[in-house]
């Protein structure tokens, strides 16, 4: 059974592509045949984050228009077995995608025995974002602890509940997961940042994970390496925990507490 998971948020810049790359890599690392699709037609970036930007020949629009085969379009990851990248087109716009065209691609992927299809949604609530979430069985709603991101996440939840294929066909609803990224426990402790509890309370969907703000996220994107492959970093470990939870394991949430400060650093820090 193939599972389709959309990584979405409404707002831009909250970490959808970073999350898509790490979730796909994490699932493949655990032995599942996984493909990650970049739906941001015109603003392709997943290839850069995955470090395969120089290996793109054909793209999603070519595949939708039947100008290239699935085999020609998929890029096989060089680090992880079972991991494939389906890049977006850089020269076309989002109108090049149609539900029928994407349905054909999804069907081909299912016939190629993929366990997971991860859809990296573009920002916004326009056609591209709606295409990315249409076929989803599950959704990872990526949210920053910040007012506009929380509001947009709530909006995208409404769209998932009314415009996904599952909602239109009256099937079991899309399973929603909340992933909080760029979390800074010290600022939460000082009352300057919305807490995990605040966000869960507002959005009222189950929490998949908390990714702490971490310098390694930028380091890894600079290098074209999904941050989940950086076992040393907190962000990498947090993504790894999120994979376990996605696969049904219950794991306590980490990285929610601020490091203890001494009296001197509290006075002068």
């Amino acid at each position: 059974m193939t599972k389709t998971i959309v990584v979405t948020s409404g707002k831009g810049g909250v970490g959808k592509t970073t999350t898509s790359a790490s979730i796909a890599t994490g699932l493949a690392k655990r032995g599942f045949k996984t493909v990650v699709i970049d739906f941001d037609v015109g603003l392709r970036n997943l290839d850069l984050i995955m470090g395969c930007e120089r290996r793109v020949v054909y793209d999603l629009v070519n595949l939708v228009n039947q100008e290239a085969s699935l085999h020609q379009t998929l890029i096989k990851d060089k680090r992880i077995e079972n991991l494939y990248i389906l890049p977006a087109s850089q020269t076309r716009d989002k109108d090049a995608l149609t539900i029928e065209g994407i349905a054909r691609v999804m069907h081909k992927l299912k016939k190629s025995d993929f366990d997971y299809i991860i859809c990296d949604s573009p920002a916004g609530i326009e056609k591209g974002a709606k295409m990315a979430l249409y076929f989803a069985d599950e959704a990872i709603v990526t949210t920053n602890p910040e007012v506009s991101s929380v509001r947009d996440s709530d909006r995208i939840l409404g769209i998932l509940q009314s415009e996904s294929k599952r909602s239109k066909m009256n099937e079991e609803p899309v399973k929603e997961h909340l992933l909080i990224t760029r979390y800074n426990p010290s600022r939460v402790k000082d009352g300057q940042m919305l807490s995990v509890d605040d966000i869960v309370d507002l959005l009222a969907i189950p929490l998949l994970g908390i990714i702490p703000e971490s310098p390694s996220v930028l380091d890894c994107s600079n290098a074209g390496k999904p941050v989940i492959l950086d076992d040393e970093s907190e962000a990498g470990q947090a993504y790894s925990d999120a994979i376990d939870r996605l696969l049904g394991e219950s794991k306590p949430h980490r990285f929610m507490e601020a490091p203890k400060k001494g009296l001197l650093s509290r006075l002068f820090g």
């Binding site: 910040e146 007012v147 929380v150 509001r151 709530d154 909006r155 409404g158 009314s162 939460v188 000082d190 009352g191 300057q192 940042m193 919305l194 807490s195 605040d198 309370d201 507002l202 650093s265 509290r266 006075l267 002068f268 820090g269």
Partner: protein, 110 residues
């Protein structure tokens, strides 16, 4: 900065609390629009059409809200007539007929 912050009990005016309060109101408001019954937009359009028969108003003059309080739903109607709301330039046939009937009825009474 840290020195002063240490002594200030800033939990009260902490900005995260403000953020949460604002979001709570906003999200609840936006959800009612989303989860409301599908007849609301049509109801709104019909009310607007009726008002337009008599007064020239913009398309945003009517707001319809459905709120739930405990076990009762409250339908809130807000119609804004601006200062310079003039009568619709051409009263509809319907409006003319009803006005005539009203006048005739009044004439009979006297």
């Amino acid at each position: 900065m840290g020195f002063f912050r240490f002594f200030r009990s800033n939990k009260e005016d902490a900005s995260a609390k403000v953020a949460k309060d604002r979001l709570q109101v906003l999200i609840a408001h936006e959800r009612t629009g989303r989860d409301g019954p599908d007849y609301l937009p049509m109801l709104k359009q019909d009310i607007l059409d009726v008002i337009k028969k008599y007064v020239a108003v913009g398309d945003d003059a009517v707001s319809v809200q459905l709120d739930s309080q405990d076990d009762c739903d409250v339908l809130e109607l807000n119609i804004t007539l601006s200062e310079d709301s003039t009568p619709a330039t051409q009263p509809s046939v319907d409006a003319k007929r009803r006005a005539m009937e009203r006048r005739q009825a009044a004439a009979k009474v006297t």
